[in-house]
Subunit: 225 residues, 2 copies
DNA sequence: TTTTATTTTTAGATTTGTCTAAATTTTAAT
DNA sequence: ATTAAAATTTAGACAAATCTAAAAATAAAA
C-alpha cells in the first residue's frame, strides 16, 4: 500500500506524540500544532486515515495508531533516520542541516532502496541525533546511551548524539573538535560546577561545562560506527 | 523558486522531446503520451507553466522551453542521473531497476544535497545508461562515447552505457560478465556477421554479436570511473 | 451545577492536478 | 477549395488537502 506524503506525515506525527509517557491518545490540537496546520484539517484527515484502518478515532476522543499504523510509522522513521545518517556520514552535512532534507527523502517509496542504503551504511543503530534506527523488521535497537554527565570516571564511549541542537552548541562542539563518532574518555568530574574533563584520542584533555556534558550523548555498548 | 513534482515532470518531458532533431516545438499529444496523461490535462498545465515564464506557448502552436525552463530541466536531469549513478554504483542496483526510483528522487529539492552527492560520487560524467550528467553549472560534458561496433581493433574503453535495456540483453551481459565500468579491449572484428571479439581483463576473449556490439556503449576518453 | 472557556467538528470554499465530453482549430485528403 | 480526419482546447466535474467561520461538544471555573 502506498500513501501520500501528507498522510505519512500525519502517521509519523501521531506516532511521535504517542511516545510521550502517559500519552495514550493524541489530541487534535496537538497534531495541528505538530504539523503546522489547522485543527479542522486534522479532523478531515483523521477521518480518511480511519477508513484506511491506520488509526482508531472517535470524534472528540482523540486518536491512536492501530498496529498497522504503527508499523507504517516505524518504517517512515527508519527511512528518515537512515537518510539522516547518510547525509552526515557520507555527504558531510552537519547534524543540524539534515532534518529538513530527510523530511523529504523519507517519502521515497522503494523499500529495496532503503534496505540497500541500510546495508551500504553498515546497519547503523542510531542517527546523528542519537535516536535509534529501526531495523528491517521494524525493531528498535535498545541503545545503551547516556549523557557524558552520567558516565563514570575513566569510562569511554562514542558520541552518537546531542540533545541541544542549537547553533551555539554545535559551534562549541566544532571548536572543541567533537563530532559524531568521536571516541572520548571521561577523565575527571568536578562536583562544584558539574563540568567534566574528557580526553579525545590524540588530543589534550579538555573541559566541558555541565550544560555540554548533559547534552552530549554517548553510546557505550553498541558498535555504532 | 520551487515547483511541484508534476510541473517538474512536464518541464523534463518537454526538454527531452525538444532534443529530438528538427523538433522545434513540442506537441500537446506527444506530451500527453510521454506523461501518460490526457491532452486536455496537458493544455491546462501548459497555461500554468506559461504564466511562470518557463515556456513559450501559443494555443494550437505547440510549446518550447524558455531559457529559464531549460535551466530548470537541466537541473532535474542532473539530479535524475546522479541518483541513478548512486544507485548502481553505491547501492548495487542493476541498470534496469534504477529509473523508477530516480524518478522519485529527482524531485528532492535541496541543491546542496545534489552538489554534495556529485562530489561524493567523484563527479561522474555519465549515468549507468551512458547519458551525460550536467555539471553544477548545467553544462553537459561531451562524452567521447561510441558503440563497441565502432571501435577500432586493439582499442580499449570502459563500458558506460547500453542502449538496448531489454531483459534479454541484460541477462546476456550478466552472463558474459560485462557490466558498467567493465574495461574491455577489441581484439578482432568479423565483417561477415558484424560480431566482435573482446577481451576483459583476467578473462578469456569472448565473442559478442553485432547486435550486442552495436548496443554496448564505451567511453574512451573521460575518466568515467 | 450552571456558566464560561476551550477544544473539536461541520459546512462551505479554495487550490492543484486530473478527467470526460463537447466544441474548435488545424491539417490532410479528396 | 471543400470536406473529412486529427489534434487541441474549453467547459464542467472530481479527488486530495487545505482553509475560514460557525456550530457543537467537552472541560474548567465560578
Amino acid at each position: 500500500m502506498k500513501y501520500s506524503a501528507s498522510k505519512e506525515n500525519y502517521i509519523k506525527a501521531i506516532f511521535h506524540l504517542q511516545q510521550e509517557p502517559e500519552q495514550e491518545s493524541v489530541t487534535t490540537n496537538a497534531l495541528a500544532e505538530a504539523l503546522h496546520t489547522k485543527p479542522a484539517s486534522v479532523t478531515d484527515m483523521l477521518k480518511k486515515l480511519k477508513t484506511q484502518k491506520l488509526l482508531q478515532y472517535e470524534k472528540y476522543r482523540g486518536v491512536k495508531l492501530t498496529p498497522e499504523g504503527k508499523k507504517l510509522a516505524v518504517q517512515i522513521v527508519r527511512k528518515h533516520r537512515l537518510w539522516e545518517y547518510f547525509l552526515v556520514e557520507k555527504l558531510q552535512f552537519g547534524w543540524e542541516e539534515v532534518h529538513d532534507i530527510a523530511e523529504e527523502l523519507e517519502h521515497i517509496s522503494s523499500k529495496k532502496l532503503i534496505d540497500r542504503l541500510d546495508a551500504f551504511l553498515d546497519f547503523p543503530r542510531a542517527d546523528p541525533h542519537g535516536d535509534p534506527i529501526p531495523d528491517v523488521n521494524g525493531k528498535m535497537p535498545s541503545l545503551q546511551q547516556s549523557a557524558v554527565s552520567e558516565m563514570p570516571v575513566n569510562s569511554s564511549g562514542t558520541v552518537n548524539g546531542i540533545s541541544d541542537q542549537s547553533a551555539d552548541m554545535l559551534e562549541l562542539l566544532k571548536h572543541k573538535n567533537i563530532q559524531l563518532g568521536t571516541k572520548l574518555e571521561v577523565k575527571k568530574k568536578f562536583e562544584v560546577d558539574g563540568s567534566v574533563e574528557i580526553k579525545i584520542r590524540n588530543q589534550q584533555p579538555v573541559n566541558i561545562s555541565e550544560h555540554v556534558a548533559k547534552n552530549l550523548l554517548v553510546a557505550y555498548d553498541n558498535k555504532n560506527k
